[in-house]
């Protein structure tokens, strides 16, 4: 069906492109959402650095102010390192500005003063590059690693605060190390000058291990305090090497995840190769959009990392929401497109369907109804118009032909009918002459009379056939059934009238039709069938041959057969036998007896009009049998 076919094609194209655009759309949207989020994380890292550096700057400013303080200058100048006033002042300043330690180093590199309990002094800082640089007159601000011993010297319990037990973390690098005793500090060293010469260096710093205020601050400023499904959406962490020393990331028990370690991939990229990491990474068990950058010490060695990250889940959820919405819309649009495709297929196919229907209508010989124009496209309208014109023209032509044929058939019927009486007159006198009722006839006259008689017989047959044909053609040849004794009403009179002809051909008829057989059929039609079949049997049978007539009731019908011992009919000619005007030119008998070619056609028409069938069996050398059925008279018991 055209409509279905068109719709299937349209639908296939629509679905294909629909799915392609959906896939593409989803892909683009995902990338867009994630890249937006990633951008946010990058910006977050920049902000985190800004905050970190701001804190360093604050430290520097404070220490610079200290370095210019009269009291400090005086103490350094006079080397009165145990000045109690200085100690109490600096200790107050340290506490109120959130510093973890402040100390003074003399030009010999010896720590001479500390503002934190237990105020230990006398150790050397000559190996410390920051201090050395400060003695060279530079202001140094850096991040640095202090050993446990150094932290203990700085006092204030820093060593204990810095101490971390390490934990095995999934996805992290394996390490035999069980603890981290070092501390990462934000350090500042300022030269104390007298004139051009540096007479001491004042240094101070903040321990970053467990410095939660700093990471909380960073997180609060960068990501605000957003919580997503009970978890902090934004996180910030300071790493010492790959170990979290201060973080907002929480463990499942709610404690901060200090002592856990970064994943292997991040460690390799950031710590080993000194590059930044932007992308998705596992932070403990959750997936985060992350940014890591290395933290370097004064010698430019990588000692740790600064990290900020956003929980990926919210973005996944946003993405899923958008994608679902997009899919719903796409599916809706797809359905609308399919409905449209269906309608369009219908509009394209309908005119063609109507044309097909109309052509079937015409095939059945009915008057064609004009197919309405659909108006959907010009080409189909043109086709429909052309079809309508053609249909009308064809119908008119057919009507003309039919009328012509009818008038031809009527003329034929009239003429043949009018021929009947003169022929009958001639046949009567011929009969009298041949029977010598009008005086004796010589042998040669008798020969001539026989020839005239046979011509007359043919003429009579032709008249009968053409009249029947004209009735069949005009649909006016229907049986009028009555009770017909096959033997008495049909065979007896027929065989009587054929007697002379049979005798002339030396043929004998074996008639085994039961006298009791009664048909429910049209007498004249049955006579016509037998007349034609017997006529053929005489014409095409062997001279001095036999004709066998039989009939028996079979399944509520009477099966009749007419056999002759003629030459038989070639198998390829058999189907042609019952066609109108068919004459089989197989030489011999056929050439001698030119018939109308209508006898079997009429016989078949008659048998079928009675609801029966007619067949022919023939094999060369075995004679020809015509078998046909006629309806039996019901109330008669047949023996």
């Amino acid at each position: 069906m055209l409509k279905l076919k068109l719709f299937k094609r349209f639908a296939a194209i629509t679905i294909l492109f629909g799915i392609l655009s959906m896939l593409l759309g989803v892909q683009i949207m995902r990338q867009r959402v994630i890249s937006e989020a990633q951008t946010r994380v990058r910006l977050g890292l920049s902000s985190a650095w800004a905050l970190f550096e701001n804190r360093q700057r604050e430290l520097c400013i404070l220490l610079r102010l200290l370095a210019n303080k009269d009291l400090l200058l005086r103490v350094c100048e006079e080397q009165r390192w145990n000045d109690l006033e200085l100690r109490s002042r600096l200790e107050r300043i340290r506490a109120s500005f959130g510093l973890d330690f402040i100390g003074l180093v003399d030009p010999g590199g010896t720590v001479v003063f500390r503002a934190t309990e237990p105020y230990s002094t006398g150790d050397h800082k000559t190996a410390d590059l920051a201090i050395t640089k400060a003695f060279n007159g530079e202001t140094v601000s850096c991040v640095s690693l202090f050993t446990r011993a150094q932290l203990m010297l700085e006092g204030g319990g820093l060593a204990d605060r810095a101490f971390l037990e390490l934990e095995e973390t999934p996805r992290s690098r394996r390490s035999p190390k069980m603890e981290e005793s070092r501390g990462m500090v934000m350090l500042c060293a300022i030269p104390v000058r007298k004139g051009p010469s540096v007479i001491a260096v004042v240094y101070g710093g903040i321990l970053l291990n467990r410095n939660f205020a700093m990471v909380d601050g960073i997180r609060d400023v960068v990501f605000r305090d957003d919580v997503y499904k009970g978890r902090q959406a934004g996180t910030a962490t300071l790493f010492l090497n790959d170990t979290r020393i201060a973080t907002t990331v929480l463990r499942e028990n709610g404690n901060r995840a200090v002592g856990t370690r970064v994943s292997r991939e991040v460690a390799e990229r950031v710590l080993d190769n000194g590059m930044a990491w932007f992308g998705e990474a596992f932070v403990l068990k959750d997936e985060y959009l992350t940014a890591y950058e290395p933290i370097r010490d004064v010698q430019d060695q990588i000692i740790g990392m600064l990290y900020v990250g956003l929980l990926k889940q919210p973005f996944n959820d946003i993405e899923r929401g958008i994608v679902l919405k997009f899919l719903y819309i796409s599916i809706f649009v797809l359905l609308v497109a399919l409905v449209l495709a269906f309608l369009i297929a219908g509009r394209l196919a309908n005119p063609i369907h109507r044309l097909v229907e109309s052509s079937h209508h015409m095939r059945d010989g009915k008057r064609p109804e004009p197919v309405p124009l659909s108006g959907c496209c010009r080409e189909t309208d043109l086709l429909t118009e052309a079809f309508n014109h053609m249909a009308v023209a064809l119908y008119e032509r057919e009507e003309k032909l039919r009328a012509l044929n009818r008038s031809y058939m009527e003329t034929l019927a009239f003429v043949t009918h009018e021929l009947k009486s003169p022929i009958a007159t001639m046949m009567n006198y011929l009969y009298l002459l041949r029977e010598q009722k009008l005086g004796p006839v010589t042998e040669s006259q008798m020969k001539a009379l026989r020839a005239v008689d046979s011509g007359g017989q043919r003429l009579v047959e032709m008249i009968r056939h053409y009249l029947n044909l004209s009735r069949i053609e005009s649909g006016d040849y229907t049986p009028v059934r009555s009770r017909v004794m096959l033997q008495a009403d049909v065979m007896a009179p027929l065989l009587t009238s054929l007697e002379a002809e049979l005798k002339a051909n030396g043929m004998c008829v074996e008639n085994t039709i039961p006298a009791t057989l009664v048909l429910n059929a049209d007498l004249n039609m049955v006579r016509e069938v037998y007349e034609n079949l017997l006529g053929n049997a005489i014409k095409y049978g062997r001279p001095s041959g036999r004709i066998r007539l039989a009939a028996q009731p079979v399944n509520g019908h009477v099966e009749c057969s007419v056999w002759n011992d003629g030459d038989g009919i070639a198998p390829d000619k058999l189907p042609l036998l019952f066609q109108k005007f068919s004459r089989l030119d197989n030489g011999g008998a056929a050439q001698r007896h030119r018939g109308t070619g209508l006898g079997l056609f009429i016989a078949q028409h008659i048998v079928e009009a009675h609801g029966g069938w007619i067949r022919v069996h023939s094999s060369p050398g075995d004679g020809v049998t015509f078998v046909f059925t006629l309806p039996v008279q019901r109330e008669t018991s047949v023996e």
Partner: protein, 137 residues
């Protein structure tokens, strides 16, 4: 022909009627010819034929039928056999065999033209035999 039989031919085709007359006379029948329906009826009442050969189509297409229907009205014709001859058996949708008690068309036989002469005589003999049987029963 053991007996002297009288046949009346009612047919408006003079040549055909004449040929039938010659045929039947050659076989010993006494033959009379009428060329119209009413003439035929009148002649039948006068000469009392044994068989009437009646043509259907004469002045009108069904004159023969009208004649046939009038025959039973005359009791003197009750013994007469009627053979209806027509070229229109098939066109008029008539059954080929009529029963004796048919009143709408009281004829003994309907024959289709042209009738082979031998057959015509066979049919006449049959009708005569039927009438004989009727009479004797």
């Amino acid at each position: 022909m053991s007996e002297h039989r009288i046949v009346l031919i009612v047919d408006d085709d003079e040549a055909f009627a004449q040929s039938n007359r010659d045929l039947l006379e050659a076989y010993g029948y006494e033959v009379h010819v009428a060329h119209g329906g009413s003439e035929g009826l009148a002649m039948a009442k006068r000469i009392r034929p044994d068989v009437m050969i009646l043509d259907v189509m004469m002045a009108s297409d069904t004159e023969g039928f009208e004649v046939a229907r009038k025959i039973p009205e005359s009791p003197e014709l009750s013994r007469m056999g009627v053979l209806l001859v027509t070229g229109v058996v098939k066109a008029l949708h008539l059954p080929g065999v009529l029963k004796a008690d048919d009143t709408w068309l009281p004829v003994d036989r309907i024959l289709d033209k042209p009738i082979p002469p031998a057959r015509l005589m066979a049919e006449i003999e049959r009708v005569l035999a039927d009438c004989q049987r009727k009479r004797s029963s």
